[in-house]
Subunit: 180 residues, 2 copies
């Protein structure tokens, strides 16, 4: 749908980084006036809602420089160029948790910050985890620790803001509605 | 919590815009190596899960330049400098929907994209809406249209990706668990 479409008059490219790009678009508004839009380009990401045999949720704790604190999140990671989201999801699960799976169910996808970024997150579910025989190394600048927690404990951590991000907040509600 | 803390060695300020700022931090990793973090600074935002007397959910349709499409979202907006989130929530509700309320319940807060941005969204709920006598003008570069839809219809629009953002996805699950 293109309702209230804003046509691009000009694009100023500001930054081209490892993860994100920044550009400022000059646009024509529906009333004919002009404005500027600050836009972040992101490769997209996956997140995995993973339940163990014991019905615990798999989390990873990670320091988030943007927040200057470490939080517990469901396993997640950026799409590599041209990689299918399901392939990314399996890889990130393996790298971050030591589990693998052959059963990933696509739950939904959503844009995290449509006001300024095009980051799209594909959310997967699995309750069919197999433990890897050997650890698989992840990104060399990524330090994570795995936790396996029941839903009630995770909800308590969300109240304490130790869990504090949108995809994980979504995951907890998803599991609640799923009744697991 | 500061587990796996990444200490800042240097901050390079790249961009200072109307909405976002971009900086690249050089950091020391837990293993002593260094890396760079591309970080977006955002003022934070509010979102409002609003139910009408008829038990419909209030949405606004808006063109999102970052996505190059218009989507339906729950009413939302950025925090103004020094403004309390609840004040922002009431103002955005009034500007975008023509409703007001004296009863906003804080549901939760979450970071939308902790991997690269510090945008924190405060999510409010209200089912006590009053219609404003007169429309209140919103931002002059913002064009929105209001919809009032039952949960089942909203879930269908989510499958069609006409609803396609994290806070609204969260809102639909929230209403489902609330049983309204």
């Amino acid at each position: 749908m293109k309702k209230f479409e804003e046509k691009t008059i000009d694009t100023e490219k500001i930054f081209d980084g490892k993860v994100i790009k920044l550009q400022v678009d000059s646009v024509t508004l529906p009333d004919g006036n002009t404005s500027k839009r600050e836009l972040i380009k992101h490769p997209g990401a996956v997140a995995i809602i993973a339940l163990t045999e014991e019905n615990n949720i798999v989390f990873v704790e990670q320091y988030r420089k943007a927040l200057e604190k470490s939080i517990l999140e469901i396993p997640a990671g950026k799409l590599e160029d041209g990689e299918a989201p399901e392939v990314t999801a399996k890889r990130e699960l393996e790298e971050e948790t030591g589990y693998t799976t052959d059963h990933l169910e696509l739950v939904t996808s959503f844009y995290t910050s449509p006001g300024f970024a095009d980051e799209l997150v594909y959310v997967y579910f699995t309750n069919q985890l197999k433990r890897l025989q050997e650890d698989i190394a992840g990104d060399e600048d990524e330090f994570v620790e795995k936790y396996e927690l029941p839903l009630g404990e995770a909800e308590r951590l969300m109240e304490e803001k130790r869990i504090h991000d949108a995809k994980t907040a979504y995951a907890l509600l998803y599991l609640k509605t799923r009744g697991e």
